[in-house]
């Protein structure tokens, strides 16, 4: 009996349920899609050699999913609350018919379970199919090999989705029971009668406020684009953000009054059809929705900016990577191992073996060759020693500038010895990389550094002409500032400083700190190179088995692994951004939709009057459509304007990573995502509202 009643009720209020159901289905689908990412084929193809990055991504998605679940939970409770409010009167009637609270609770419980179950199934269904499409998108974005397409279903993600949503539905049930238990019959029966006082704003004030708002926003826009060079700290960025928020609120506070004033002065437009009514609706309602409109606008702004910037981030990243990785291979190992060292954790003294010590007195190529590596696989080999002199520390390099530096960056370890390379050794590497080569006189030294804050520090020392005295000989800096250059490849500028000294600099043998090797693979095609890569990084080759057994530690970077790693990293960034962006989008659309539906119930009376004075259904629906369309468009339009500047800011903030040429496809993708979800909610709102205003009193 109860079950039948529940099904009947749901059928009756199916259009009310539309938004709720839509939100649940989208929530479930998105949740499933992103939690199944790791098992998607495209993902496997992309990140074959970056297992730990995938691991990282799964962990991060896991943490973020908890956060997302909380957002969705609140959203679902909010949407559900709307439904309960809509039906207060219905429950009141049940109660007058002698139905107890407990029974009503049971009806609602059944409905919640029914809707939950249905939405879970539909959502999973949508999610599974949408994730196949996402795979294709991923493949496009990351150039993964998708020639062998397979259908993927992630059981893990499915179970996780069910568990999380079961918890959310449980929260909804508890919430509902609490709400119902607080109801009083009289309040239920009179629930629909609620008169709210209309406050009309002075149009002149509206116009002035709008002008102020536009100025504030304009200034904030200017600050994040033209004035961006001043925004170098987080605190300074707070200014434009706060201005943006205030500006947005003020725009929504004043906009409707302004529009009304504008259109009123154009009698032809104002006195046409139901225009007057729609505008007044807008003016009346927007007053009470300033805050929610602002929040929705800002959420949309974040969504648009994050989606389009992060999508374009990916596109440009791989381009720059080519330039940042001029050689195929970098290997290095510690030179001159001592007799023993103290284990950091246990405090034990560990003795090095003779083999380890012997190896450490020879360059990297020795370790390769001696342990059976086929050196023909490599070409363009450059090998250099890297030195460190205990008494030549950063502090020494900074000279008179040290006190200033210390005051500015107190945390740095200034007693660290400098990394020192002979000029001719460096030039060999530079020649291989295609970087600039340098020369030094016998009493000169110079510093290579490209890590921004370190450059600043070191320039201080160089400018003050710090003289270094080693072995009784004096050296002075050739240049007053750091030059760019590096020996180890990386994805970004992270060289904190290399000192170059003349070739006749007398090094003691114990100053030798590391052996460094740079080389290219002796292969023509990508495939050949990847095979060679495998002989270096893989554990299966004879060579790697040998050094593993002997406990010889050689570290390094390869071009392929750097590119893979950063691809994987940007994959993570992009997916998390899309995940959060879409959830934000769903949240803001759903809130907007529910607010509009609530208002439609309040507006019912007004549309009834319109009907009574002669408006037909077509006119009424048209007025309703326009009213809802304006409410949906206003926050979107302002968000788009915000985003134009926000994206530009985002791009210049990640200047080295993304460029504006790559923006167009991401913007198109963003438009499709936002248009789709926002459009769905708009449609559901319009149909639901139409249903509400059609109802008989």
């Amino acid at each position: 009996m109860l079950f039948k009643l529940s099904v009947k009720n749901m059928k009756k209020s199916i259009k009310d349920y539309a938004i709720y159901f839509l939100t649940l289905v989208l929530g479930v689908a998105i949740f499933y899609m992103f939690n199944s990412l790791d098992s998607q084929q495209a993902m496997l193809e992309v990140s074959e050699s970056t297992r730990d990055l995938i691991e990282l991504m799964i962990n991060m998605l896991g943490v973020i999913s908890v956060f997302i679940a909380i957002i969705l939970g609140f959203l679902i409770v909010y949407a559900n609350n709307f439904l309960i409010n809509r039906r207060k009167k219905e429950f009141g009637i049940y109660m007058t018919l002698g139905m107890g609270r407990r029974q009503i609770s049971k009806i609602i419980l059944l409905e919640t379970i029914l809707v939950g179950f249905l939405s879970l199934i539909v959502g999973l269904f949508v999610g599974v199919f949408a994730s196949q499409f996402m795979s294709i998108l991923v493949a496009k974005l990351f150039e993964a090999d998708m020639t062998e397409y397979t259908f993927v279903f992630s059981m893990n993600s499915c179970i996780k989705t069910c568990v999380y949503f079961a918890i959310m539905y449980l929260a909804v049930m508890i919430f509902n029971t609490l709400t119902i238990s607080r109801y009083k019959l009289i309040n239920l029966l009179t629930a629909t009668k609620k008169n709210e006082k209309i406050r009309i704003k002075n149009p002149i004030v509206s116009v002035i406020i709008l002008i102020i708002a536009v100025c504030i926003l304009g200034y904030a826009y200017w600050k994040v684009t033209a004035g961006i060079s001043n925004l170098n700290t987080i605190e300074k960025m707070l200014g434009p953000i706060i201005m943006g928020i205030i500006g947005t609120v003020l725009v929504f506070w004043s906009l409707s009054g302004f529009i009304l004033k504008m259109i009123q002065s154009r009698k032809k437009t104002y006195l046409k059809g139901t225009n007057m009514f729609v505008l007044r609706q807008l003016n009346n309602k927007i007053n009470t929705t300033v805050v929610s409109m602002s929040v929705i606008c800002l959420m949309l702004f974040v969504t648009i900016t994050v989606l389009s910037s992060s999508l374009s981030l990916k596109n440009t990243m791989s381009k720059d990577l080519e330039e940042m990785t001029p050689a195929d291979l970098n290997l290095y190992k510690t030179a001159n191992l001592p007799e023993s060292y103290e284990n950091y954790y246990t405090g034990e003294t560990v003795y090095y073996t003779d083999e380890q010590k012997e190896d450490s007195r020879n360059p990297v190529s020795y370790s390769l060759e001696y342990n059976g590596y086929d050196m023909n696989l490599l070409q363009d080999i450059v090998e250099i020693p890297i030195y460190a002199i205990p008494e030549w520390t950063w502090e020494v390099s900074l000279g008179d500038y040290f006190d200033t530096a210390k005051a500015q960056f107190a945390m740095l370890t200034y007693h660290m010895p400098e990394t020192i390379i002979k000029i001719s050794d460096y030039n060999k590497i530079a020649a291989l990389y295609g970087n600039e080569q340098y020369s030094l006189a016998d009493d000169e030294y110079m510093v290579l550094c490209d890590f921004d804050s370190m450059v600043e520090l070191r320039n201080g020392g160089l400018k003050s002409g710090t003289i270094i005295e080693i072995n009784g000989k004096k050296y002075h800096p050739k240049y007053e500032e750091c030059k760019s250059g590096y020996i180890m490849m990386s994805t970004s500028h992270t060289n904190t400083g290399i000192v170059l000294v003349p070739d006749n600099f007398e090094f003691k043998d114990e100053w030798k700190e590391q052996y460094f090797l740079a080389a290219n693979y002796n292969g023509k095609t990508e495939d050949e190179k990847e095979k060679i890569e495998e002989t270096i990084v893989g554990n299966s080759s004879e060579w790697s088995q040998n050094i593993l057994n002997k406990g010889i530690e050689i570290e390094g970077f390869t071009k392929i692994s750097i590119i893979e790693a950063s691809k994987g990293l940007s994959t993570i960034i992009v997916f998390i951004a899309i995940y959060l962006g879409i959830i934000f989008l769903i949240a803001s659309s759903a809130i907007l939709a529910l607010k509009q539906l609530t208002e439609s119930s309040d507006n019912k009376q007004r549309y009834t009057i319109l009907r009574k004075i002669g408006c037909d259904e077509k006119m009424n629906n048209q007025a309703l459509f326009r009213q809802i369309a304006i409410f949906f468009m206003l926050p979107l339009i302002l968000a788009v304007i915000h985003s134009i500047f926000g994206i530009q800011f985002g791009l210049s903030a990640m200047a080295s990573l993304a460029s504006s040429e790559e923006l167009l496809p991401s913007i198109i993708a963003t438009i499709i995502i936002i248009g789709g979800i926002y459009g769905l909610y708009f449609l559901a709102t319009y149909l639901g509202s139409k249903n509400i205003i059609k109802e008989e009193e």
Binding site: L271, R280, L610, K612, G614
Partner: protein, 256 residues
């Protein structure tokens, strides 16, 4: 103009189903001439509103014909029905039915804008009618800023501004105090006499009814009596009404 603006012929209106049938109206017939001011009186539940709703096409008759301006409204459907209502009928309701978000001016103008009347003409006509009903100075006010009587006059302006063939008013004074009621009825009188508007007014109040030219009494869904003012003064007419009311019996002072 020749003939009748309204002809009600043998109209029945039943509510409910076979097991629980309410005959709200049964076999009612009467005519209204152009420029007439007709009142319909009856006790609460006698079927006045039902009759008015049938005439105004808000409700459908069970049987019978209703001709407005020689057109059978019971046969109209969909868009032509809406168009007919918009152009030929004016409504005044007990609870005003003004849009709270619109000013008085806009409430009146709305009746014209939905008929796609030219903007300049709208302004002219609103001013004209507002002057006749003496509400020029409150045109820019919102409904919550004006009294009940003023609201009803605004509603009356809205009803007649489209030059309807007939104005239908259901208990127009029902929510007004006696002074406002008197002002409104005087306004009706002048609409009727100066603008030649045809008015059909439903009321249960004898004083309100005494402003009409002719009164049709209804009891239990049937016509019970008819009174014509003729050359009587309003006071005399009022007394006649009271007489019929006593005849009718029942508690007429019950508000619906």
């Amino acid at each position: 103009m020749m003939g009748y603006v309204l002809e009600v012929k043998n109209v029945d209106k039943y509510y409910g189903n076979k097991s629980n049938l309410t005959k709200a109206i049964s076999g009612i017939s009467f005519n209204v001439e152009y420029g007439e001011f007709v009142g319909i009186m009856g006790a609460s539940g006698s079927g006045k509103t039902t009759l008015l709703n049938c005439i105004s096409t808000i409700d459908r008759v069970t049987a019978g014909e209703i001709l407005i301006d020689h057109q059978d409204v019971t046969k109209l459907k969909g868009n032509s029905l809406n168009k007919f209502r918009r152009e030929k009928l004016g409504f005044i309701f007990q609870d005003f039915n003004l849009l709270d978000t619109l000013t008085a001016y806009e409430n009146i103008a709305l009746a014209l804008t939905i008929q796609k009347v030219n903007a300049n003409e709208i302004d002219k006509r609103v001013q004209e009618v507002a002057e006749k009903l003496e509400i020029t100075d409150i045109l820019q006010k919102y409904p919550y800023q004006i009294s009940g009587g003023q609201k009803q006059r605004v509603a009356s302006c809205r009803a007649i501004i489209t030059n309807p063939k007939i104005v239908l008013a259901d208990e127009p004074t029902g929510a007004l105090d006696s002074k406002s009621a008197r002002q409104l009825l005087e306004a009706f009188e002048s609409l009727n006499q100066k603008l030649g508007a045809t008015i059909l007014m439903v009321t249960h109040d004898a004083f309100t009814a005494s402003y009409a030219d002719r009164i049709i009494f209804i009891k239990d869904g049937k016509i019970f009596n008819e009174l014509i003012k003729g050359n009587d003064t309003r006071k005399q007419f009022f007394e006649k009404i009271i007489e019929v009311q006593t005849l009718l019996g029942g508690d007429l002072n019950d508000v619906i």
